[in-house]
């Protein structure tokens, strides 16, 4: 039912939308703008003279590196994520059931961990090349060795294999819940399996791919650990060089904000590209029937399906386990530290997840479409602004937050007469920082969930006299449960792995698993951090498996 066909007086106008929700969304968007505003203020304190140096010597290389890295990772995560999602949805083969959740496991591995794990595994004196040399009969790496991982291709490889689950997750849900009836229609009209995938499933999955791939690409763009480690000079690395090596925070802020503008432009472009498309589905959600594979085809499916899991999770996790067992004697001494770090990590991540999800719900609900016409929607504008925190590097966001946080602390001190710093002296700063950083993840997931619920449901509910909030509680929240769970778990895993903002904003005597690992890694003795790295991966496993259970079971 189109609202535009309703009498004018029946249409849901401003107040019916729920002005309170809009105000809440605006407040959250404003909060996210605070650190960006602080950065912009910093950026004003530099002249533009450094741009001529950048334009001549830095930007050509950094731009082409960044573009190549993004293109490569984008292609890889889309291929792996969509391919794997289609494989486990459309076909039945041995181990498929385990694979559906195992494909999410790389989410538990932070990019900085996989980079050093692979550098070690693939080093000329590492296990893989040593085995190859033994097979080929060479004695020394001086006689034979593979190309160095420290290259743009190496970076694409490691980032692609840990970030594809974002695409896998969103497309898998899409394939399962939405496509079934359409896919079957296409089948009955005579299209083959491949034809269905290319002509129906892929176009249908485009919003899901866009959501997943944009998360993966933003992580790539803002990555500093893996890029620096593998020697890829990206734009983000040049922001760091300008800030740290040349002590020029103002100029660094200028570069970071310019990057942010480009990112926003690209996201708007993609959204504009599918502006006229609607994806809501009023049919009962029903999974498609997978086709049973036999013989060689089944074997091929097993091999193809498990490759991403092996590369993105099993190999680095195995490496961490081996390195940890070599240092078992150290674990006794650090177990108290480990427990402290673990409990701090869980408490902060859990609190941040709850706040992020709550804010995400407010923002997404305020921005929902009430009618099919695409006019300016203030709620949606708030949602876009609230998602900006994910588009700047973690440290840059943290620097931007320093000023507002300490300002608030000073005001609190004046008002309540308290001593010291309330926000910065507690976990409060971290929770706020995580919320601003990962709001995009929860907003994106909830929006995608809302988009699958036809507006007619709200129209019916409202016509029957229910308020906007009541409709949310009684109609949408139950329908949104899978999307909320997925959002919560993604945010939780992201918050657990978060490093740069945690390093800068945490109080005295407070370590999380990630900062503890970094403290080891900062000396260059990465393998000494294996215990902490393994703890992060293991602690991340539980939410990932939960995520798989709640989200991917949907429709079964």
């Amino acid at each position: 039912m189109h609202t535009d066909t309703l009498p004018r007086s029946w249409r849901l106008r401003g107040p019916e939308r729920g002005a309170g929700w809009l105000a809440g969304a605006a407040l959250i968007a404003l909060a996210v703008l605070l650190p960006l505003g602080a950065l912009a203020w910093q950026a004003l304190h530099a002249d533009l003279s450094h741009w001529s140096h950048l334009a001549r010597y830095v930007l050509p290389q950094a731009l082409s590196n960044t573009a190549m890295l993004l293109a490569g990772v984008g292609i890889l995560v889309t291929l792996l994520g969509t391919g794997a999602a289609w494989l486990v949805t459309a076909y039945e083969f041995p181990s498929r059931r385990i694979l559906t959740w195992a494909l999410l496991l790389p989410l538990a591995v932070p990019t900085y961990i996989i980079a050093f794990a692979y550098l070690d595994l693939l080093h000329p004196i590492g296990p893989i090349q040593t085995a190859i040399r033994t097979l080929l009969g060479y004695d020394s790496p001086r006689e034979f060795r593979l190309p160095d991982l420290r290259s743009i291709y190496g970076a694409i490889f490691v980032l692609g294999f840990v970030l594809y689950p974002y695409v896998y997750l969103s497309t898998r849900v899409m394939f399962m819940s939405q496509a079934a009836s359409l896919l079957e229609a296409a089948r009955t009209l005579g299209a083959g399996r491949v034809g269905v995938f290319v002509r129906v499933a892929l176009p249908l999955a485009r919003p899901a791919i866009a959501v997943g791939a944009s998360l993966a690409l933003l992580e790539t763009l803002n990555d500093i650990g893996a890029s620096e480690f593998l020697g890829v000079q990206t734009l983000t690395v040049s922001v760091y060089t300008t800030w740290i090596t040349r002590s020029d925070l103002a100029s660094a802020a200028q570069i970071a904000l310019t990057m942010l503008l480009i990112v926003v432009g690209l996201i708007l472009l993609e959204r504009h590209g599918r502006k006229r498309q609607r994806y809501a589905n009023t049919q009962r959600m029903r999974p498609m029937q997978p086709r049973r594979l036999r013989g060689m085809a089944a074997l091929l499916a097993v091999v193809l399906g498990w490759i991403p899991v092996l590369v993105g999770f099993v190999a680095p996790a195995w490496y961490l386990v081996v390195e940890t067992t070599k240092r078992l004697h150290l674990v006794g001494g650090v177990s108290q530290q480990l427990l402290n770090g673990l409990s701090n990590t869980l408490i902060v991540a859990f609190t941040a997840t709850a706040v992020t999800l709550g804010c995400g719900l407010v923002v997404a609900w305020a921005g929902r479409s009430l009618r099919e016409s695409a006019r300016f929607n203030p709620g949606r504008a708030c949602a876009r602004i609230a998602s900006l925190g994910y588009a700047v590097p973690g440290t840059v966001l943290a620097i931007g937050l320093l000023m507002p946080f300490t300002w608030i602390d000073r005001q609190l001190g004046t008002v309540f007469g308290t001593q010291g710093l309330l926000l910065m002296g507690s976990m409060g700063a971290l929770v706020c920082a995580y919320t601003m950083r990962f709001l995009a993840v929860s907003v994106g997931g909830i929006e995608a969930g809302l988009a699958r619920i036809p507006p007619s449901l709200e129209q019916a509910s409202r016509l029957l006299g229910e308020s906007a909030s009541g409709t949310l509680r009684r109609v949408h929240l139950p329908l949104l449960r899978p999307a909320l769970a997925a959002g919560a778990l993604l945010v939780f895993v992201d918050a657990m792995k978060e490093l740069p903002a945690t390093l800068l904003l945490r109080p005295l005597n407070f370590e999380t698993l990630a900062t503890w690992l970094y403290a080891e890694a900062a000396r260059g003795t990465y393998e000494e951090g294996a215990v902490a790295a393994l703890a992060i991966v293991v602690a991340g496993l539980l939410p990932v498996i939960l995520l798989a259970r709640t989200n991917l079971k949907m429709g079964h």
């Binding site: 309170g20 002590s247 070599k326 320093l402 000073r410 010291g420 710093l421 109080p507």
Partner: protein, 346 residues
């Protein structure tokens, strides 16, 4: 449920959660708070010894980037007493940022040579870190000039970390001070042409890559060799360490000293426990603390007469480049721009 109530519920729970995580730390009687960019494990033994001797509890937060920005933003409310960092450039940044204060101490002035501390008492060096040449055991080499790194005979044989890393920009800055910008640029291009792999990774990767046959020589800090050669036999680190020997290079024009960077500390401008901060600094240059620097971290002690670790002692006596370290900080920006200009890291 009305709109207002339904909006209040999430807001209230958010506030309650926020309240639950907010708890101001209790103030103990005798304590000192340390903001450090040095890895906790490296300094923890010294801090434990300090607490044991003085009864003063040390609170620490380890920060990588943004120490200056954080303390600046915290302003007069900052709990920071002592700021500790590595690299003279980073240390001078803290001073220039106005977040340190001048303190005077006869102990500090008598132990630390004048060219290794701020004349006004706004910063102090605590240990020395010489940047040396790692050489594969297969190559015989007794002396080396930093300038030789650009010699074409080392084509495809040189490993080094990113040119933009503070350890390397400090070396390039020293080169500018000795040889001038033009010669340094030419030198950088020569080194770049000799690189066996991308300028990336860490200092220990130089030793690992020498063992892996990727390169023959490389520039890295000396204390890593202490760590590697003292590692337990059979570990990877020990294998890397055993694959190399150390030569201390000097500059062609400028005496016979090796390039040295520092680790150092300063008292924070708004230190709530200034006296304890000075006590901590004085303790860090004392005989037992300096011995820990030398034997647990393999850094070169700032204090004369402290016994070295045998591995580090085997490199011979350290002759420090006569250039005052503060000079190096002056040329750091120019050095960083030269590194960009020659595309060293590309």
């Amino acid at each position: 449920m009305s709109i207002r109530r339904s909006l209040l519920t999430p807001l209230c729970s958010a506030l309650a959660l926020a309240g639950a995580v907010l708890s101001a730390p209790a103030l103990a009687a005798e304590e000192v708070s340390l903001y450090t960019t040095r890895e906790p494990k490296l300094i923890q033994p010294m801090l434990d010894a300090f607490t044991k001797e003085s009864g003063i509890k040390v609170n620490t937060v380890f920060i990588k980037d943004g120490l200056l920005e954080r303390v600046k933003a915290e302003g007069a409310q900052s709990p920071a007493d002592v700021l500790m960092t590595v690299d003279i450039g980073n240390l001078i940044d803290l001073v220039d940022g106005g977040i340190t204060q001048a303190v005077q101490s006869d102990t500090l002035n008598s132990v630390i040579p004048a060219n290794l501390r701020g004349a006004d008492g706004k910063w102090y060096s605590l240990s020395l870190r010489d940047r040396v040449l790692y050489v594969t055991n297969d190559v015989k080499l007794d002396s080396f000039n930093y300038e030789d790194l650009a010699d074409p005979k080392w084509k495809n044989k040189v490993c080094i970390r990113s040119g933009q890393h503070p350890y390397n920009t400090a070396l390039v800055a020293a080169m500018i001070a000795h040889d001038g910008a033009e010669t340094t640029e030419k030198w950088l291009r020569g080194v770049k042409a000799n690189l066996a792999r991308k300028a990336a990774g860490g200092d220990r990767d130089v030793a690992r890559d020498i063992l892996g046959g990727i390169c023959d020589i490389g520039i890295a800090n000396a204390y890593y060799v202490g760590h590697m050669k003292n590692a337990e036999p059979g570990t990877d680190a020990r294998k890397w360490g055993d694959a190399i020997k150390v030569v201390r290079p000097t500059f062609k024009n400028g005496g016979s000293g090796t390039h040295v960077n520092i680790s150092g500390a300063a008292v924070a401008a708004h230190a709530p426990h200034k006296d304890n901060a000075i006590k901590l600094l004085e303790f860090l240059v004392s005989e037992p603390a300096q011995a820990l620097y030398a034997r647990a971290n393999y850094e070169y002690p700032i204090r004369k007469g402290v016994k070295l670790d045998p591995v580090v002692a085997s490199f011979g006596e350290l002759k420090v480049d006569s250039l005052p370290v503060a000079e190096i900080a002056k040329y750091r920006k120019q050095a960083s721009e030269l590194v960009d200009k020659v595309g060293f890291d590309n």
